[in-house]
C-alpha cells in the first residue's frame, strides 16, 4: 500500500518533471526568435567589432593584424580628443538646460490652473516622434550660414554680422545642442509629469495646512519625491548624448568639421566614408568603455540613494 503510493507519487513526479521540461522547451522556443535575431544582428556585430579593433581592414581586401596600433593612432589624433570634448560639451549644452526646462514644463502641465492640459501635453511630446532627419534639416535652415538664415536675420536686426554656423566653434555646438534640446525636452517633460502625478496630494495638503509656500512645496516635496525620475532622465540623457550622431552629420551636410564632430560621427567617418574599419572599431570600443564608466556610476549612485531612502523610512 505504502509502496504503491510511493510508486504512484514517484511516477507522478517523474511525469510532471518531464512535463516541466517540455514546458520549458516550449518556452525557450517561444522566445528564441528574438535571441536568434539578436545573435545575428546584435551580438555578432558587437563581438566582431571587438575583434576588428585589432586589425586593419577596408571592407574588401585582406584583414591584417595590427595589434594595439589602431588605438595608438586614434589616441594620437587631436581630432579624436576634440570629438570627445565636443560630445561632452554638446551633451551638457543639450541636456542640462533641457532637464531644467522639462521640469518647469512638467510642473506647469501638472498644475490645476492650466486649461487644455492634454493638448499641451501632446504638443510638447510631438518633437520626440518627429523624424530626426526632418528636425536636422529644419534646424540647418534656422541656423543657416547666410544672412537670410532665421537666426542670422534676427541677429541682423541688432546689427550683428551673420555667423557662419558650420565653421564657428560655438555656433556649430549651439545649433546641434538646440536640435537635441528641442527633440528630447518633451520626452523628459512627460517622464517628470508622470513622476509628479505619482506624488500623493495628501503631502501637499498637509504642507498647505502647515503654511508652506509654493516654492517651499516645490523644494521640500516635489523635488525629493522626483529623485528617481531625475536620476533616470539624467542617465538616459548622458548615455544618449554620448551617442549623438545624426544631428552633426546632417547639420554639416556630410562634411564633418572639427567644430561639431562627435565620437560616433568620428567613427562613422572612418568606417563608412574612408572604409578604415579597424580604427572605427577601436573608437567604438573606447566609446563602449566610456559608456560603461557612466553606467557603473549610475548604478552606484542609484544604489546609495535607494539605501538612504530605506534607512530614512
Amino acid at each position: 500500500m505504502v509502496s504503491n503510493t510511493e510508486k504512484h507519487n514517484g511516477r507522478k513526479s517523474r511525469r510532471s518533471l518531464s512535463q516541466d521540461k517540455r514546458n520549458s522547451i516550449a518556452g525557450y522556443l517561444f522566445i528564441s526568435p528574438f535571441f536568434i535575431l539578436f545573435a545575428i544582428f546584435g551580438l555578432f556585430p558587437m563581438l566582431f567589432s571587438f575583434y576588428l579593433a585589432f586589425f586593419k581592414w577596408n571592407g574588401l581586401g585582406e584583414m591584417t593584424y595590427n595589434g594595439f596600433n589602431n588605438f595608438t593612432i586614434i589616441f594620437n589624433d587631436p581630432v579624436f580628443w576634440k570629438s570627445i570634448y565636443n560630445t561632452v560639451v554638446i551633451g551638457l549644452m543639450g541636456t542640462v538646460p533641457q532637464l531644467i526646462v522639462a521640469f518647469l514644463l512638467a510642473y506647469a502641465l501638472n498644475s490645476q490652473v492650466l486649461r487644455f492640459r492634454n493638448t499641451f501635453r501632446v504638443a510638447i511630446f510631438m518633437p520626440y516622434v518627429t523624424s530626426i532627419v526632418a528636425v536636422a534639416i529644419l534646424f540647418s535652415i534656422i541656423f543657416n550660414n547666410q544672412s537670410f538664415g532665421l537666426v542670422n536675420s534676427f541677429l541682423g536686426l541688432f546689427g550683428v554680422d551673420p555667423i557662419v554656423f558650420t565653421q564657428s566653434e560655438w555656433g556649430a555646438k549651439i545649433a546641434i545642442a538646440a536640435m537635441i534640446f528641442w527633440r528630447w525636452v518633451g520626452y523628459n517633460t512627460i517622464i517628470f509629469l508622470a513622476g509628479m502625478q505619482s506624488i500623493s496630494n495628501d503631502l501637499y495638503e498637509a504642507a498647505k495646512i502647515d503654511g508652506a509656500t509654493l516654492s517651499q512645496q516645490l523644494r521640500y516635496i516635489t523635488l525629493p519625491m522626483l529623485k528617481p525620475f531625475v536620476l533616470f532622465t539624467v542617465f538616459m540623457g548622458t548615455i544618449g548624448s554620448l551617442q549623438i550622431f545624426t544631428e552633426p552629420l546632417i547639420f554639416f551636410n556630410g562634411n564633418l568639421r572639427v567644430e561639431g564632430i562627435t565620437v560616433v560621427a568620428y567613427l562613422y567617418r572612418d568606417a563608412f566614408e574612408s572604409n578604415f574599419f579597424g580604427t572605427a572599431s577601436a573608437t567604438a570600443i573606447v566609446l563602449f568603455a566610456i559608456i560603461m564608466v557612466f553606467s557603473v556610476l549610475n548604478l552606484l549612485i542609484t544604489n546609495r540613494l535607494g539605501r538612504g531612502k530605506a534607512r530614512k523610512a
Partner: protein, 429 residues
C-alpha cells in the same frame, strides 16, 4: 495530455517557423546564385539615377529572345553601399553593376571580385572610347579593366551674359573664350567683374579649385598609390590660385546644392559656373526663366566630373552574356540614343561626328550647340590616376579652403594643417 499536445504543437510550429526562416534564406541564396548563376538565364543589373537603360534592354531582349535582363534602379548612395556590402560578403552581387567614377576608386581593392573585361574581349571595344575615360576604369598598371564607360561629365564654363556684359566683356561664347583663354586672364576678368558688379566670379571655392586641379597631370596619389599631394606643385598652385581669388573677394560663399546656390543661379549672383555637361539640367531647373546663361570653353583645358562604368562580378555565371549586353549597351550607336533620350554625354568620340550631334542646339543656352562645347572639352581631359583615398584628401583641402573663405584663416597655415590631417588619417589604411 492536452497540455503536452499543445506544447508539442506550439514547439513544432516554432520549429517549422525557424525552419521556414532558414529555408527561405537558403532559397534566397539559391535564387541569388541562380540570378547571377544563370540557371534561369536572367542577367541581373544594378543601376542608379535616370539612365533610360530599360528601354535599350527591352530592345536588346527583342533581338535576343533567349536573354532575360532584369534592371534594378536604386538611389546612388544606397546603390553603392549595397554593392559594397555584397562584394564584401562575397555573395549577392548582381551580374552587372554600374559604378560611379568617384566611387570606383574604393572598389580597386576588390579587383578579384570583378571580371577582367580584357578576358572577355574588351580590347576590341577599347578604341571606341576616349583614352582617359577608358583608363579610369582600369587598374593602375592598365592590365585589368573593371568596366566599360557609360557617360562622362566634361567641364566647361557656364556664364551669365548680364553679369559679364556689365563688366564690359563680350557675351558671345567664342569671343569671351578668346578673351579669357588663360587662368591669368581669368584672374583679371575676376577682378573686373568684382569691381564692376560687386558680384563674385564663381559660386564657391570648390568648383574653381576643381577646375584648376583637373588640369593637373597628377593629383593626390601617384600610380604606386603613394601620397604626393604635398610635393605636387600643380595642386599647390590650384590652391594658391583659389586663395588669391578668395582674397580678391571674387569667390562666393554658396556651397554646392544649398538653397542659396540654386537661388544664386536664378538671380545671377555670380558670373561663371565651372561645371560639367550634366549641370545643364541643374541650371535649367534652378533658373527656368533665365535667358542669360551661356556656355563656353574654360581657360586652358577641361576636367571631368561624373560618369559611370558597367562592371561584371566574378561570381556571375553569365559573364559572357552579360559582357555581350554591356558592350552593345554602351556602344557608340547606343550612347547616341542615351544622349538623345536622357542627355547622357557620350564617352565615345565617334558620336561627336554624328549628324544629330553636330546639329544639336539648345534654345535655353541662346541656341548654341552646347554638345559641341562639351565634346571639345571631353577631348582635352587629362588622364589622371586618382587612388582609393582621393575623397579623403579632397575633403581636407576643401576644409582648408572653407576656413580661408569664411573664417579668414591663414592660407599657408590652413594648407599645413590639412596636410597634417591627411597624413594622420591615412595612417589608418
Amino acid at each position: 495530455m492536452k497540455k503536452v499536445l499543445k506544447a508539442g504543437l506550439v514547439a513544432g510550429g516554432v520549429l517549422a517557423l525557424l525552419a521556414g526562416c532558414s529555408g527561405d534564406e537558403g532559397e534566397n541564396g539559391n535564387s541569388g546564385d541562380g540570378g547571377s548563376g544563370g540557371g534561369n538565364g536572367t542577367i541581373d543589373m544594378w543601376v542608379f539615377g535616370t539612365t533610360g537603360y530599360e528601354k535599350l534592354a527591352d530592345a536588346y531582349m527583342e533581338e535576343n529572345p533567349d536573354v532575360e535582363i532584369n534592371i534594378q534602379t536604386t538611389e546612388m548612395g544606397d546603390h553603392h553601399n549595397n554593392l559594397f556590402t555584397a562584394l564584401s560578403a562575397g555573395q549577392g552581387a548582381p551580374d552587372i553593376a554600374m559604378i560611379e567614377v568617384g566611387e570606383i576608386e574604393r572598389y580597386r581593392e576588390a579587383q578579384d571580385r570583378f571580371v577582367n573585361l580584357y578576358d572577355l574581349g574588351a580590347e576590341d571595344a577599347q578604341g571606341n572610347y576616349l583614352d582617359w575615360v577608358w583608363n579610369v576604369g582600369g587598374s593602375a598598371d592598365g592590365e585589368f579593366q573593371f568596366g566599360l564607360p557609360t557617360d562622362i561629365g566634361p567641364t566647361a564654363m557656364y556664364y551669365r551674359k548680364d553679369v559679364v556684359e556689365e563688366a564690359g566683356y563680350p557675351t558671345d561664347p567664342a569671343e569671351l573664350a578668346a578673351e579669357v583663354d588663360t587662368w591669368d586672364k581669368y584672374a583679371t576678368f575676376a577682378k573686373e567683374i568684382v569691381d564692376a558688379t560687386g558680384k563674385p566670379v564663381v559660386d564657391n571655392a570648390e568648383l574653381i579649385f576643381n577646375a584648376k586641379r583637373d588640369q593637373a597631370t597628377e593629383h593626390y596619389f601617384n600610380r604606386e598609390n603613394e601620397l604626393i599631394v604635398e610635393e605636387n606643385a600643380e595642386i599647390r598652385e590650384a590652391y594658391d590660385y583659389t586663395v588669391d581669388l578668395i582674397q580678391a573677394d571674387a569667390v562666393g560663399n554658396m556651397p554646392l546644392w544649398t538653397p542659396e546656390w540654386g537661388q544664386g543661379m536664378a538671380e545671377g549672383s555670380y558670373a561663371t559656373l565651372l561645371g560639367p555637361a550634366w549641370m545643364q539640367g541643374v541650371v535649367k531647373g534652378n533658373a527656368p526663366d533665365s535667358e542669360d546663361w551661356m556656355i563656353t570653353t574654360m581657360p586652358e583645358g577641361a576636367g571631368n566630373w561624373g560618369g559611370s562604368y558597367l562592371t561584371i562580378s566574378e561570381e556571375s555565371e553569365m559573364q559572357e552574356e552579360a559582357y555581350a549586353f554591356i558592350e552593345w549597351l554602351v556602344s557608340p550607336e547606343n550612347q547616341l540614343e542615351s544622349f538623345k533620350d536622357m542627355g547622357l554625354f557620350p564617352s565615345t568620340p565617334s558620336v561627336y561626328e554624328e549628324e544629330e550631334f553636330v546639329n544639336y542646339t539648345d534654345e535655353y543656352f541662346g541656341g548654341i550647340n552646347t554638345a559641341a562645347v562639351f565634346a571639345e572639352a571631353a577631348e582635352q581631359v587629362n588622364d589622371v590616376y586618382k587612388g582609393r583615398n582621393y575623397l579623403l584628401v579632397q575633403g581636407e583641402i576643401m576644409t582648408a579652403l572653407d576656413n580661408v573663405l569664411s573664417s579668414g584663416g591663414d592660407p599657408d597655415q590652413e594648407w599645413e594643417d590639412a596636410m597634417e590631417r591627411i597624413e594622420q588619417r591615412l595612417e589608418r589604411e
